[in-house]
């Protein structure tokens, strides 16, 4: 598979996975809560496709896209959300709490920033050449621990890529009702260079991430990538308070799959679509048949 096709496949995989989650919640295959990555797929794919195998990813409550872009197994992720013994964490963590290889997520907003700085510094102190990429949303920027982490990262020169996914809405609160000043200004205050994009095109994101990651690895200091993005789905399962027309507009103009499809021959795109559809369906069915953690529900 060409690199271009691999990127597309990764986008489609996340999209189909998340669509399956929302549809099957309604049918009762899952319990508990979830936060889907619909519309933001290009962020995870554009950044994580540029990481080396030993690099580290620290993620948040909206972690499915990051996990799948990192190479995580869809069946194990379905299993985790269904509470199966085959789940990523044996059903203990659920949707927001994943760990596999060098991937870590946690559902406490802001808590992951200091964690990621500590991870990056531990790697550096032990002479490893890894970088750590931490994903946080605009909502997390209300937490004080984020700024303690920015300060530590800059002061102690952590090899850290801070990816801020600004989807302009924190659960139901528009960012402009929750954030004073500017996002780039907050990073600048700590001497952390930030590169800002407003796109859903994975090639643009990847082209920005690639040199950033290289320079973090080379210079061993933190840098930030601010990605203005669009959330197509609800915060969780059915709590979208935005007007339907606004969401429709976002879906029309900001769809990472539609934007990237232009780079691919239609017949190849179709092959990938068919392959991924089947893969996601099979992963779902396998997880459904896997034994429940803690016995039958």
């Amino acid at each position: 598979m060409t690199d271009a096709l691999a990127l597309y496949r990764s986008l489609v995989l996340i999209r189909r996975f998340e669509e399956t989650i929302l549809a099957e919640y309604r049918r009762g295959a899952f319990s508990g809560t979830t936060h889907t990555y619909l519309g933001q797929e290009a962020n995870a794919v554009g950044v994580i496709s540029n990481l080396e195998p030993d690099d580290i990813v620290v993620s948040n409550h909206r972690c499915h896209g990051h996990f799948l872009a990192y190479g995580g197994d869809p069946r194990a992720l379905f299993g985790e959300l269904m509470g199966r013994v085959t789940g990523v964490c044996g059903g203990r963590g659920g949707s927001q709490h994943l760990h596999w290889r060098n991937f870590y997520s946690n559902g406490i907003l802001g808590s992951t920033l200091p964690l990621a700085v500590g991870i990056a510094l531990a790697e550096k102190m032990q002479g490893r050449q890894t970088i750590t990429a931490v994903f946080a949303g605009d909502g997390a920027l209300g937490e004080g621990s984020v700024y303690e982490a920015f300060n530590f990262a800059s002061l102690w020169q952590a090899p850290l890529l801070i990816v801020i996914e600004n989807n302009h809405i924190a659960q139901t609160t528009p960012t402009n009702q929750a954030m004073s000043g500017s996002l780039a200004g907050r990073l600048a205050a700590f001497g952390i260079p930030a590169y800002e994009l407003d796109t859903s095109d994975v090639t643009e994101i990847s082209s920005a991430a690639q040199p950033l990651i290289a320079s973090i690895r080379r210079e061993q200091r933190p840098q930030a990538l601010i990605l203005n993005t669009a959330r197509f789905g609800p915060h969780s399962k059915s709590d979208d308070t935005r007007p339907a027309e606004l969401v429709d507009e976002l879906r029309r103009t900001r769809d990472p799959l539609a934007l990237y499809s232009r780079h691919i021959q239609p017949e190849l795109k179709n092959e990938v679509d068919v392959e991924v559809d089947a893969l996601v369906r099979a992963a779902f069915e396998q997880a459904l048949a896997d034994p429940p953690a803690g016995g039958a529900n």
């Binding site: 963590g93 964690l115 790697e123």
Partner: protein, 339 residues
């Protein structure tokens, strides 16, 4: 003779020296200052790469330490005053203590958070509290309290190098100046290890040559010293013979050494410096009540008055438990004992 302060510094020094993965983080811990209570004095000179002075950011440094622990280091965080541990609660409870279990045993988080608790120095409401009770019963978090009995430096060394889960290591401020009481220094007392805990042991303290005890005192931290003084007065002035059980691991709680003692004495008095409600003593009493039934004939708790801790010396004295409070509570039990 070794002061507890020097024993703890020595424990840190040995851990740094024995394992290159140990790092210390905290506010003002570098030489020549060496930390607000001087526990880290000399260490930044000996290990400059691994003793890191932080900004005033308890939440951040504890979160950082959790990340370091996840990736192979053994960080030790000093929180300058125990009162400030509330700022680190989220990092400790929702990250450090949870990750191993939540990630299905795929990781470990060997992190020690050391902090001085306790009053009697006139530092007032926000620099004097004994807040360890709010950390008891947090899954994944071990709470250890040093005392001057046994080997506090070794206790700290083990917390750093022999534990793969987070440990809150509580040091009472008034312990720093006390001399370590090992078997040789115990003089009129017999000090012996009891129970099955190997790493953070429990001790029994009894007066040599005294009749069989009819009262169990249970304490940890600095209150073990006040309980020891009370033990002498109870024997000489009240003819109540008691033994003292000292616990060093507060959570998860292994109450067996206390239970074993109460089976013999029938009476229990718990002594702690934190406030009374939902405290350490309440948990010990609950364990005894559940396990011993009628074998527990009477019990009381000695603890702090439930107000913030006042700054004025006289007010502070009346708010924190002292030897007289222990004697009074023991006499109350004694009245039932002799009735």
């Amino acid at each position: 003779m070794t002061a507890v302060l020097d024993a703890l510094t020595n424990g840190l020094q040995r851990a740094l020296s024995d394992d290159p993965h140990v790092v210390l983080l905290g506010e003002d811990i570098l030489d020549p200052y060496g930390g607000a209570f001087k526990v880290t004095r000399g260490l930044s000179s000996a290990f400059p790469e691994r003793v890191l002075a932080t900004p005033v950011s308890e939440a951040g440094m504890t979160g950082l330490a959790a990340g370091m622990a996840l990736r192979g280091l053994r960080p030790v965080v000093e929180i300058m005053f125990g009162d400030f541990s509330t700022l680190a609660v989220d990092s400790l409870v929702n990250t450090a203590a949870k990750l191993r279990w939540m990630y299905n045993e795929q990781v470990s988080v060997p992190l020690v958070l050391r902090t001085p608790m306790g009053g009697r120095r006139g530092y007032g409401p926000t620099h004097s509290q004994s807040l360890e009770k709010i950390f008891l019963g947090i899954p994944g978090l071990k709470v250890v309290a040093a005392s001057h009995f046994g080997d506090p430096g070794e206790l700290l060394y083990r917390a750093i190098l022999q534990q793969d889960d987070p440990v809150l290591f509580v040091e009472h401020k008034l312990l720093y100046g006390l001399q370590v009481v090992d078997a040789a220094a115990a003089a009129d007392f017999a000090v012996e290890r009891v129970g099955s805990a190997e790493i953070f042991p429990a001790y029994r303290l009894a007066m040599r040559g005294a009749p069989a005890p009819t009262l169990t005192l249970a304490a940890y931290g600095y209150m073990t010293e006040l309980a020891r003084q009370a033990l002498v007065k109870l024997a000489y002035e009240h003819e109540i013979f008691a033994e003292l059980i000292v616990l060093t691991q507060l959570a998860p709680l292994d109450a067996a050494p206390v239970l074993e003692s109460v089976i013999r004495t029938g009476h229990l008095l718990t002594v702690e410096e934190g406030t009374l409600s939902a405290g350490w003593g309440a948990e010990i009493l609950a364990r005894c009540a559940e396990t011993l039934g009628g074998q527990l004939k009477a019990a009381r708790r000695v603890a702090a008055v439930e107000t913030p801790i006042p700054a004025a010396a006289g007010l502070e004295r009346s708010s924190l438990p002292d030897v007289d409070d222990i004697l009074h509570a023991a006499e109350t039990i004694g009245a039932q004992l002799h009735a």
